[in-house]
C-alpha cells in the first residue's frame, strides 16, 4: 500500500510541475511578445520575426532566441597585441548595443583586461583601449554614452593564472557587467 501511494504522489507531483511550467511559459510568452513589438519598431530585420510570431504563438522566434543567447555572452576575448574585438563577435555585440538602445534605463560597465606580458601600465592602457573599442561600437549602434561606464584592470585581475598560451588567451578580454 505504501508503494502505491508513493507512485500516486510522484505522478501528481509530475502533473503539478507540468502545470506550473505551462503557466510560466505563458507568462514569459507575454513578456516576449511585448519585447518583440519594441524590437520590430527599431530593427529592420524584424519583418520575418513578426510573421513567425504569428505562426508560433507558443514559442520564441529564431530572432528572439538569437538575441537571448547573444545577451548571455558577456565576455569577449582578444588576440595578442590587438585592441580590436574579433570579427566573429560583431553580431553578438550588435545585439548588446540594440538591447541598450531599446532600454534607455539599462546601465552597464565594460571592464577591460590584458594578459601579463608587457609592462603593467601599458596593459592598463591596453585594457581600456579594448573596452573603448566596444564602447564606440555600442554607441554607433544606438546605445547612449551615459549608459556605459568603462574601467580597465590591465593585467591585475586575470581570469586564469599561469604562463601558458591558454591562460594568456583567457585573460585578454572585455567583460560586460550589469550595473
Amino acid at each position: 500500500m505504501g508503494k502505491q501511494s508513493n507512485q500516486f504522489f510522484k505522478v501528481s507531483l509530475l502533473v503539478i510541475s507540468l502545470f506550473v511550467l505551462g503557466a510560466c511559459s505563458s507568462t514569459s510568452e507575454t513578456d516576449e511578445s511585448s519585447g518583440d513589438d519594441s524590437q520590430s519598431s527599431s530593427s529592420s530585420s524584424s519583418g520575418s520575426a513578426s510573421s513567425s510570431a504569428g505562426s508560433n504563438s507558443g514559442q520564441l522566434t529564431q530572432e528572439q532566441i538569437r538575441a537571448q543567447n547573444a545577451l548571455r555572452q558577456t565576455v569577449f576575448y582578444f588576440d595578442f597585441d590587438v585592441a580590436e574585438f574579433q570579427p566573429a563577435d560583431r553580431e553578438t555585440l550588435t545585439y548588446h548595443a540594440r538591447d541598450l538602445a531599446a532600454n534607455p534605463s539599462k546601465r552597464l560597465r565594460l571592464e577591460g583586461h590584458a594578459d601579463e606580458r608587457g609592462t603593467r601600465e601599458y596593459n592598463l592602457a591596453l585594457g581600456e583601449r579594448r573596452a573603448n573599442g566596444i564602447l564606440n561600437y555600442f554607441i554607433v549602434n544606438g546605445a547612449s554614452r551615459s549608459q556605459i561606464e568603462v574601467v580597465s584592470y590591465g593585467e591585475e585581475r586575470p581570469e586564469q593564472s599561469g604562463q601558458t598560451e591558454n591562460a594568456y588567451s583567457r585573460n585578454r578580454r572585455v567583460e560586460i557587467v550589469a550595473r
Partner: protein
C-alpha cells in the same frame, strides 16, 4: 562576485603586524675574480648575546651586491678586534686585500650599544677608515649596513646603498576568485618587511618620494584606479586624484614638488604633471595614442615616457614646458621598448625591451644614449618594472621564476645577480628608495 570584492575592497588596513611576504635573498650569479676581504667576527666586550651578527651582515652585503669574496672564519690565523692586534703578514699570507675588525660594547642595564670598527688595506699596510657608531641594540642591523657602506665606498669609490630600502607589491590568493594585495616595505635585502597597505583590490606603481618619507601609488579600492600619497612613518594617506578613467603611474619629480602621472580623461592616456603644492595640473603629451610610464631625468627638466604613437611602444623624451610636438624619440632598434628610466648619470637608460615581434620575451636592458650601445642584462623572459639603486650600481626588477612572481637584482654591468623570492604569493613592482638618513 562583484559584491564580495567590493566588501573586501572596503577592508583597507594599515597594519604592520599582519603576515608579510618574507623575502629571502639568494645569490644567483657572482663575478670571476672577486676582491678578497677578511671580516673578522667583532668581539663582544659585554659578555651578553646580540640578536644580530654585525660582521656577518657586512659579509652578506659585500658578497650580494659588490664584487667581494669573504674569507671563511675557519681559515683565519688570528682574530684581532683593534689596530694594535693586526699583523698584516697574517692576512697577506691568506691573499686578502682588505681587513675589517671591530668590537661591540653594551653597558649593563642599557639599551645602547657602541660599535667600533677599523678597516685596513693589507697591501699598502694602512688603515683606511674607522669610527665608533652608537645606537640602540635594535639598530645593530642598521649599524652593520652603515659599515658596509663605508667599506664599499673605500674600495670602489661609489657610495654604498646598503642602508636603502625597497617597496613592492605582494599578491596572494585569498580563496576562489579572491585576491589579497599588499604594499610592503623592507630593507634592500628583503629583511624586516612591513605592510604599509592591505586591500582586496589591486595596488600598483609604488613610487618613493625623493626625501624617502612618502610613497605614491595607485589603488583600486574604490573599484577605479586612483592615485594616493601615504606617509611611510605615520601611515597617513590622502587621495591625490579623482579624474575620470585611468589615473595611474605616479612618479615624483627629483625636487619632490610635483608628481608625473598618466590620465586618460581627455580621450586617451596622456602624461600630466600635478604640482603638489597648488594642485595645478599641467598637460605634457597630447596625442591619441597611448602615452604612459613617465619618469624624470636627474635634472628634473625632462620627462621620459613610453608611447605607441608609431604603432608599437617606444621611449621618448620631452622637455617640461615645451610644445607638445617637441618630442624626441630615444629608442629605435627594438620591436617594443618601455618603462624607460635614466641612471643617475643621465646617460644610460634602463628599460624593458622586446626585440622582435615573433618572440614575446621581455628583458631588462640599458641603452647608452650617446654611444647608442645596448646591453641586455637579464636572461629571463618576463621581466618588468626595473628600479635603480640610489647609487646607480644595481637594478632591481620583477620577473617570474617557477611560475611565481619574484624580485631579481642585477649590477649594471650584468655581472652580479641576486634574487628575492617570497615565501608566499607573488611579488612585483619593486621601487628602490633614495639614499635614506
Amino acid at each position: 562576485m562583484k559584491l564580495r570584492t567590493s566588501l573586501l575592497g572596503a577592508l583597507i588596513c594599515l597594519c604592520s603586524w599582519s603576515a608579510n611576504a618574507e623575502l629571502s635573498i639568494q645569490i644567483t650569479q657572482g663575478v670571476d675574480n672577486p676582491i678578497p676581504i677578511a671580516v673578522v667576527p667583532f668581539s663582544n666586550e659585554s659578555g651578553g648575546f646580540f640578536s644580530e651578527d654585525v660582521s656577518q651582515i657586512v659579509i652578506n652585503d659585500l658578497e650580494q651586491v659588490g664584487e667581494f669574496r669573504a674569507l671563511s672564519r675557519a681559515n683565519m690565523l688570528s682574530m684581532p678586534s683593534g689596530e694594535q692586534e693586526v699583523f698584516y703578514r697574517d692576512w697577506r699570507i691568506l691573499a686578502q686585500d682588505y681587513l675589517l675588525v671591530g668590537e661591540i660594547n653594551q653597558q649593563p642595564g642599557s639599551q645602547l650599544v657602541q660599535v667600533q670598527y677599523e678597516f685596513f688595506d693589507i697591501n699598502r699596510e694602512m688603515k683606511l677608515a674607522g669610527e665608533v657608531l652608537t645606537g640602540s641594540v635594535t639598530q645593530l642591523r642598521d649599524i652593520g649596513h652603515t659599515i658596509s657602506n663605508v667599506v664599499f665606498e673605500q674600495v670602489t669609490g661609489i657610495p654604498g646603498a646598503f642602508t636603502s630600502e625597497i617597496l613592492y607589491i605582494v599578491s596572494e590568493s585569498a580563496g576562489p576568485e579572491m585576491s589579497l594585495f599588499r604594499l610592503e616595505k623592507a630593507d634592500y635585502d628583503g629583511a624586516r618587511p612591513q605592510t604599509l597597505l592591505e586591500s582586496g583590490e589591486p595596488i600598483m606603481s609604488p613610487s618613493w618620494s625623493p626625501n624617502g618619507q612618502d610613497v605614491a601609488y595607485v589603488s583600486f579600492e574604490t573599484d577605479l584606479p586612483r592615485i594616493y600619497i601615504q606617509n611611510i612613518a605615520t601611515g597617513q594617506r590622502r587621495q591625490i586624484t579623482n579624474y575620470p578613467n585611468i589615473n595611474s603611474s605616479p612618479v615624483w619629480s627629483p625636487d619632490g614638488t610635483k608628481l608625473a602621472m598618466v590620465l586618460s580623461k581627455d580621450g586617451s592616456p596622456d602624461i600630466y604633471v600635478q604640482d603638489l603644492n597648488n594642485n595645478q595640473l599641467m598637460r605634457i603629451t597630447d596625442h591619441p595614442a597611448i602615452d604612459t610610464e613617465p619618469s624624470w631625468t636627474p635634472d628634473g627638466r625632462h620627462i621620459v615616457f613610453m608611447s605607441d604613437r608609431t604603432g608599437q611602444p617606444q621611449i621618448y623624451q620631452m622637455e617640461l614646458g615645451a610644445n607638445s610636438y617637441n618630442v624626441e624619440r630615444l629608442t629605435y632598434d627594438c620591436f617594443q621598448c618601455a618603462k624607460g628610466k635614466f641612471l643617475p648619470d643621465g646617460l644610460n637608460l634602463v628599460h624593458v625591451r622586446r626585440e622582435t615581434r615573433q618572440s614575446p620575451t621581455y628583458q631588462i636592458a640599458i641603452l647608452n644614449i650617446e654611444t647608442l650601445r645596448v646591453i641586455t642584462l637579464t636572461g629571463t623572459s618576463l621581466d618588468e618594472s626595473p628600479s635603480v639603486a640610489p647609487n646607480g650600481s644595481m637594478i632591481m626588477y620583477a620577473t617570474k621564476f617557477n611560475g611565481r612572481g619574484v624580485l631579481d637584482a642585477v649590477s649594471i654591468d650584468g655581472r652580479v645577480k641576486f634574487r628575492l623570492p617570497s615565501s608566499q604569493g607573488d611579488v612585483r613592482e619593486p621601487s628602490w628608495s633614495p639614499f635614506l638618513n
